[in-house]
């Protein structure tokens, strides 16, 4: 058993941390104020290799893998969880195209997604995200086109994506249950538009909005996978890419809280000495550190398993559940240590708290995760 992060990935961590400090930190205040996604960051993320982390080199990425992706998203999220979620959802468009796409689809979309185009993967509808079978968006074949009608909501990167992977109802099985298919959408397809842009309490600066399909004409060659494969594609993408991405954001927020809380405790002087000398503050820092390490190593294990080709859906769910809940607790403790300063917008711990709250339902609520984990526990213990 080897718990040492490879030297190559520590170098990646250092590079991405440097990139985040240089290119993302200057954007954060404006993102917080306006909620606007800074589009200029897309090509810069492409240049440093963030967009193509899990895309094979033959399609313009590096294929460095999921553990590398976890570390990279963690470092990005330390300075901006909003950019972290934009990046992680981008990967949720790359992975299904490479895993289920035709050679033509891979050659057409993956190189641009690795370079300067942001991707999105949208499943959730107003009826809910986890109730996949209850979705209303449907597609029917007319000539050489699939005609899609419906509406997706809470779509990350909605207003900035150049490639969108989505699913729609396309038929029913022998038992009368709906069947779904996956599609690759380009924003300039006839009948496609973006709708409402949500004004969120956290992850401000990452677009979350509606995708509207109004007799949207999708060329038949843009069917992703086989007809009827939609649920398989959606669930595998959410389980393996989405949940590990959200877990990585959670880990980044845990460590951001730890660093800020520790720094503040050493600088803040009360009764003639830094508050870091107080045992009660040390206990809170110990809790943050414990939760951060717990989150990190559960996430690294799950992503390492993914890189090894091992089944890891349960481990990914576990990592996501723990890391996002822990991120909220770590941010809360960091705010406690800051006292009244945690209410001041200049201090980032309040942002970590708001961001962490938004990560919890993203990619499935903690309750949905617990349903998965509970079933696993009953089956195996």
């Amino acid at each position: 058993m080897d718990f040492v992060v490879p030297e190559k990935l520590e170098l990646l961590r250092k590079s991405i941390a440097e990139f985040a400090q240089r290119e993302i930190v200057p954007l954060v205040n404006e993102m917080e104020k306006t909620g606007e996604f800074p589009r200029q960051i897309i090509s810069k993320m492409g240049e440093v290799g963030l967009l193509g982390l899990i895309t094979s080199s033959e399609y313009g990425g590096s294929g460095i893998g999921f553990l590398a992706r976890a570390i990279a998203i963690e470092e990005v999220s330390k300075v901006s969880a909003a950019i972290g979620i934009s990046l992680q959802v981008h990967h949720m468009s790359c992975w299904p195209i490479e895993t289920y796409g035709t050679e033509e689809q891979k050659k057409k979309y993956l190189p641009m997604l690795a370079k300067d185009t942001l991707g999105a993967c949208s499943i959730t509808e107003p009826s809910g995200g986890s109730d996949v079978l209850g979705m209303q968006t449907f597609a029917k074949m007319e000539g050489d086109y699939w005609i899609i009608n419906g509406r997706k909501c809470f779509a990350t990167n909605s207003h900035a994506a150049g490639v969108i992977v989505t699913i729609a109802k396309t038929g029913q099985d022998e038992k009368g249950r709906p069947t779904f298919s996956a599609f690759i959408i380009e924003p300039d397809f006839e009948g496609f538009s973006v709708g409402r842009e949500e004004n969120k309490m956290g992850l401000r600066g990452a677009y979350t909005g509606e995708l509207v399909f109004n007799d949207c004409k999708v060329p038949k060659e843009n069917l992703l996978g086989k007809e009827g494969d939609g649920i398989k594609i959606a669930l595998s993408t959410v389980n393996r890419v989405g949940r590990s991405g959200m877990a990585s954001i959670g880990v980044g927020l845990c460590y951001a809280s730890l660093e800020e809380a520790s720094k503040f405790a050493k600088e803040r002087v009360l009764y003639g000495k830094p508050i870091s000398k107080l045992q009660s503050i040390q206990f809170s820092l110990a809790d943050i550190y414990t939760y951060a390490e717990m989150s990190r190593w559960l996430n690294y294990r799950a992503n390492w398993m993914m890189d090894q080709g091992l089944p890891c859906d349960t481990e990914m769910t576990l990592a996501k559940y723990v890391a996002t809940e822990n991120a909220f607790m770590c941010a809360k403790w960091a705010c406690d240590i800051h006292g009244g300063y945690s209410c001041i917008l200049e201090y980032p711990v309040q942002r970590y708290l708001r961001d962490a709250w938004v990560t919890i339902p993203s990619g499935g609520t903690s309750q949905v995760a617990k349903v998965v984990l509970g079933r696993y526990a009953l089956k195996n213990f």
């Binding site: 030297e7 990646l12 290799g49």
Partner: protein, 267 residues
């Protein structure tokens, strides 16, 4: 292929200097638990060479003299785009002053690289801050040296027009290869190693060599053979000074205040 050589030095990471402390009994700077990082000005030196490589297809070799555990720090130069690294690492080099270091680096360059067109150094290391090694290296290599370089221009990569910045004045120097340049942080913005660079760095050569490997004269390296010695290390004590100026005429008091501020160097 034209050859650039970049000298780099792993130093205690400036982000963790709060963990450094001075052992007053031994006079030694303790650095336990402080990770190493590339000396930041050296990244600017590497960027100068990499930009020449990008435009004129040069080969870029990195040289360093440091303990063997700094290999992983040097790999970052390969990830940024350097072609190979030579690290001189030997107990015989331990405690070398700037002249001994420059000698060892010159022997490393002569033995492992041979002919070169350009050597680029950072203008100083942030831990030692002497700025002496580049000039001493140029002496040992027998080539000209231009220091405090803030701008490098070339049309053919054979002759260079460089700007030397001395804060109060600038000097434009036209020079021909081979030469040594020492550059400041104003010269460029170093690139960040991208993911493909990090992956390819694993397959680039990184050779660790001993004093014997480069036939270094052991009487010219190490603490005992260094002409300069650190006599004492201390942390300057900085205290607030309070002095109340009293007198009759406010203008006289202001004049006195200005005189004192000039005397102390504040103005």
């Amino acid at each position: 292929m034209p050859q650039a050589v970049v000298c780099v030095k792993p130093i205690p990471d400036p982000k963790h200097w709060d963990k450094l402390y001075l052992d007053h009994k031994t006079g030694v700077l303790r650095r336990e638990g402080v990770p190493h990082a590339l000396n930041p000005p050296d990244k600017h030196a590497l960027e100068v060479a990499l930009q020449i490589k990008d435009e004129f297809s040069w080969d870029v070799a990195v040289v360093s003299m440091s303990p063997p555990d700094t290999v992983k720090i040097l790999r970052e130069t390969l990830a940024m785009g350097a072609d190979r690294v030579y690290l001189a690492s030997d107990k015989a080099f331990s405690g070398s002053d700037t002249l001994a270091t420059a000698y060892a680096l010159s022997e490393l360059i002569k033995k492992k690289i041979g002919l070169f067109d350009l050597v680029v150094c950072g203008s100083m290391s942030l831990d030692g801050s002497t700025s002496q090694v580049p000039a001493q290296l140029a002496h040992y290599l027998g080539v000209p040296h231009v220091t405090h370089v803030t701008k490098v221009e070339t049309d053919d990569a054979k002759s260079f027009k460089v700007v030397m910045d001395f804060k109060a004045s600038e000097m434009i120097v036209e020079c021909k290869t081979p030469l040594v340049l020492s550059v400041t942080k104003e010269v460029n913005l170093p690139r960040i190693a991208n993911v493909m660079g990090i992956i390819s760095s694993e397959n680039k050569p990184l050779e660790v060599v001993s004093a014997t490997d480069i036939n270094a004269d052991l009487y010219k390296v190490g603490l005992d053979n260094s002409p300069t010695k650190v006599k004492e290390l201390f942390i300057p004590e900085i205290k607030r000074k309070k002095e109340i100026l009293k007198g009759g005429d406010p203008e006289d008091i202001v004049d006195e205040l200005l005189d004192k501020l000039h005397e102390t160097g504040v103005l």
